[in-house]
């Protein structure tokens, strides 16, 4: 995966809420985010859902790109804002994950829209890791045991 170089970076905070526990990580650079994604992949398995919340520019898609790279996906992961949902097949399965479903609900008004495009069929599918940006817009379809990851600039979580 090719990486764009930024001329300036800001510290970001990532907060992970999983199974009742909350942990906060500070990303001082884009490399920290990459390392975080690599570590997280080791704990994930097919059927998992990551709900990524955070404002525009907080790092959700960049994190998703590193996650895909850690899963061995060679395709360039571009922003799914316009197309709403993209599926990437892993070159070889990792922890029973054979495909990544990357959903962006930024342009959706409600869960009904995600259902209309068939997104719900990927959520919790046993061979699929689903990553959803702007999950608040489709709250009704986010499963109870989804892992919520919040992104913020500096430490304003």
């Amino acid at each position: 995966m090719k990486k764009a170089n930024y001329t300036s970076e800001t510290v970001r905070t990532i907060t992970v809420k999983d199974a009742g526990m909350t942990e906060r990580y500070v990303m001082k650079s884009i490399d920290d985010t990459n390392r975080f994604a690599k570590k997280l992949v080791k704990e994930l398995q097919g059927g998992d859902v990551l709900a990524l919340s955070g404002n525009l520019g907080s790092g959700k898609t960049t994190f998703s790109q590193f996650l895909a790279k850690a899963l061995g996906i060679k395709d360039q992961i571009t922003s799914p804002t316009f197309v709403l949902m993209k599926i990437y097949v892993l070159p070889s399965p990792i922890n029973s994950i054979t495909q990544l479903c990357h959903i962006d609900a930024y342009r959706m008004g409600s869960s009904v829209e995600l259902e209309t495009i068939g997104g719900h069929e990927y959520i919790e599918a046993p061979d699929t890791l689903t990553v959803i940006e702007w999950p608040e817009r489709v709250q009704g379809l986010i499963p109870q045991n989804a892992i919520w990851i919040s992104f913020a600039l500096d430490d304003t979580v």
Binding site: Y6, S8, G57, T62, Q65, S79, T81, F82
Partner: protein, 346 residues
């Protein structure tokens, strides 16, 4: 030859009928779901859901496009795009192909944007012939795509660059949102920028220096740069709405500079005869005027074509046009083999 074009790669369900006779093109219809009064029939359906509920609109849209004419060829977008949306167009096309005994052409959505230029365009630096000469370089720039494609001839494409993250049109929409402006972002930013100073704020141009010979683009950094700028201004209590024209102008200039510079450099390096544009961001006046100026300076012998705006946003006419050039060479796909390709690259 009558070509029915069908497009349903994402938001739009569209159909068009293009007749080609004696080498001349007649576009009989170019419809989309918003023009077909289907919403009224399904009283109570939420509009934004109906817009993407292609299955409700695909038949009415096709009926309206055809009238009483049975096409000779069906050209359908089979990718790239949203798989469930593409499916509606593809399955409908396959069914009609079997019903009518008519061949199918699978069209790439980006190829469609490229062929939008074949509806008479505005051409600068006219050579004796106004037809599009090969090799051509195409910059496709929209809300969902930003790509540079080398077109050696009909059907012979090579992608030489693309965005690594956000599309240019997406950057406009998101920056507009960040600045509290309305949707769609392109027109409002462009309008405010007219009275703004593009040098007032230092917005970075990613992948843009001499060391970077890549034709790839990156616009997510431009987006965050505007975010930091506004944040810093607000922290220093210096932010006010009066800064919007300058913020918009500075952001817009950063995006246009990169699009134009990479296109011009590619045109020179690949010694093209024409430069074409495609996609909704073609509506941006600064992009068009700066592209024209820079190309005239850097590659003065190149013809620069701009498609008519109505063929720049997603539509089926461009799909029918692309379909025609494949049909000419009998490049058909049997209905049994025609499939949805969500990630289809040119």
């Amino acid at each position: 030859m009558n070509i029915l074009g069908i497009e349903s790669s994402c938001d739009e369900t569209a159909a068009a009928l293009l007749e080609v006779k004696g080498g001349k093109f007649f576009l009989h219809s170019n419809n989309d779901a918003s023009q077909v009064a289907i919403h009224a029939r399904y009283g109570g359906v939420v509009p934004e859901v109906a817009a993407r509920n292609h299955i409700l609109s695909v038949i009415p849209v096709i009926q309206k496009a055809l009238g009483r004419i049975k096409p000779d060829v069906i050209a359908v977008t089979s990718g790239p795009g949203l798989v469930t949306s593409l499916s509606v167009g593809v399955q409908t096309a396959r069914t009609l192909s079997v019903l009518w005994g008519v061949p199918l052409v699978a069209v790439n959505h980006l190829e469609g944007h490229l062929y939008a230029n074949w509806f008479s365009t505005t051409t600068y630096n006219l050579q004796p012939t106004t037809s599009i000469q090969f090799p051509a370089l195409v910059l496709i720039v929209s809300g969902g795509h930003t790509e540079l494609v080398l077109m050696k001839d009909h059907g012979k494409y090579k992608k030489i660059g693309q965005t690594l993250d956000d599309a240019a049109g997406e950057a406009f929409d998101k920056v507009a949102k960040m600045l509290g402006l309305e949707y769609p972002g392109g027109p409002v930013i462009s309008r405010l920028a007219e009275n703004g100073n593009p040098k007032r704020f230092d917005v970075p141009r990613a992948l843009f220096n001499d060391r970077e010979r890549t034709y790839d683009f990156s616009f997510s950094g431009v987006k965050t740069s505007v975010l930091y700028c506004v944040r810093d201004l607000k922290n220093a209590k210096k932010y006010s709405k009066r800064l919007l024209p300058d913020l918009c102008a500075s952001f817009q200039q950063a995006v246009v500079d990169v699009l134009v510079a990479k296109t011009a450099r590619a045109a020179k390096e690949h010694k093209v005869k024409s430069v074409l544009l495609g996609g909704g961001v073609v509506a941006n006046l600064l992009l068009r005027s700066q592209m024209k100026t820079v190309l005239e300076h850097d590659v003065p012998d190149v013809n620069f074509h701009i498609p008519q705006l109505k063929f720049c946003t997603d539509n089926a006419a461009m799909i029918a046009m692309a379909g025609y050039f494949h049909a000419k060479k009998k490049e058909y796909t049997p209905w049994q083999k025609l499939d949805v390709r969500g990630g289809w690259e040119l």
